[in-house]
């Protein structure tokens, strides 16, 4: 098998092809996560409705603060399906756009290694926990920033007792602009660490199962 050496020039990456591939995957992940997001909120809403509680969706109704028209009712479930799909698709697209920044590096690394083209037919995705953590951590942190400041902007910060409960896990967080920044940093770190764990477990199992994550 031909091996690349330090003196062998690395072939140029076709950036147009790379951008097209990233665009395609962004669209596909947005579709998949939009579908999952919509179905998840739809299912949770109906589950809450059918639990037979005196006040169905007492807390789930709070999502209506961020998703106009949503409430725990049969009609609200359909609105939730729509909003879940929109939010899921946006998160999926944003996530992949951030994560894809590492693909060029992954391709460059592959090209520096002496692998045969047969690898291409059996390639299993490798999850880069660091990139995943940066992408997902940023999305969650931005989400907390936006949602907290939305409550501040609405003038209901002092009544947002449920949002304030985040301070149980995020010391220093409060429903205020300053508190949102403290919380955003802390939640970014937590999500980043969880993503490192996720990537490590996934890659280990993929290798154990005989795959060769790329």
């Amino acid at each position: 098998m031909p091996q690349s050496s330090g003196t062998t020039p690395t072939p140029q990456i076709n950036m147009a092809l790379l951008k097209a591939a990233i665009k395609l995957n962004t669209l596909l992940l947005a579709s998949v996560s939009g579908l999952l997001g919509g179905l998840l909120l739809f299912t949770i809403t109906f589950l809450s409705l059918n639990k037979g509680m005196p006040y169905p969706g007492h807390y789930l109704n709070l999502l209506g603060v961020f998703l106009p028209g949503y409430n725990v009712s049969p009609a609200g479930a359909w609105i939730g399906l729509f909003w879940g799909a929109v939010v899921g698709a946006l998160i999926g697209a944003l996530f992949y756009r951030i994560y894809a920044r590492t693909i060029e590096t992954q391709v460059s690394n592959y090209l520096r290694q002496g692998r045969s083209s047969k690898d291409l037919m059996t390639s299993v995705m490798k999850i880069d926990g660091n990139s995943l953590g940066l992408a997902l951590g940023a999305i969650v942190a931005i989400g907390l920033l936006i949602s907290t400041n939305w409550l501040v902007f609405r003038g209901t910060a002092n009544e947002s007792f449920n949002a304030a409960l985040f301070s149980n896990y995020l010391p220093g967080y409060s429903v205020s602009t300053a508190g949102s920044f403290v919380g955003a940093i802390e939640i970014f770190i937590i999500v980043y660490l969880l993503c490192l764990l996720f990537g490590w477990v996934y890659n280990k199992i993929a290798v154990l199962r005989g795959g060769d994550p790329q």
Partner: protein
């Protein structure tokens, strides 16, 4: 020596690499289980404010996960649920991701075949 054709293949490999569905299911399950376990235990160890119960709000997860409570045993039960739910979510995500790529490639092949047939 690697050629530009290899570079193109590497790009396509990065774009069309499939998820290991089993690994994804286990990893997502493990992360969700760890998260719920730690979130529960954190509240148990922290304790409740005077005159209140521990985890008044977190225990509402028990509405969806029967048997779950903010306690040591509830943390284990919740972790087991989260492991199962995460595994299902990971499985669905992996299957959908792989399937959309297969469908996309199949459409390209069909379209190319059709164009070639029409050209002949």
């Amino acid at each position: 020596m690697k050629t530009n054709m290899d570079a193109d293949k590497a790009v396509l490999m990065a774009a069309f690499a499939k998820f290991d569905v089993v690994a994804l299911a286990i990893a997502l399950g493990a992360v969700l289980a760890t998260s719920l376990f730690l979130a529960t235990i954190f509240l148990v160890l922290k304790g409740a404010d005077p005159g209140t119960d521990v985890g008044n709000h977190l225990r509402l997860i028990g509405v969806y996960l029967p048997g779950y409570s903010v306690s040591w045993s509830g943390a284990l039960i919740g972790a087991a649920y989260a492991l199962g739910l995460g595994a299902v979510m990971g499985f669905i995500l992996g299957v959908l991701w792989n399937m959309t790529h297969y469908i996309y490639v199949a459409l390209i092949v069909i379209r190319t075949t059709w164009v070639n047939l029409m050209a002949d």
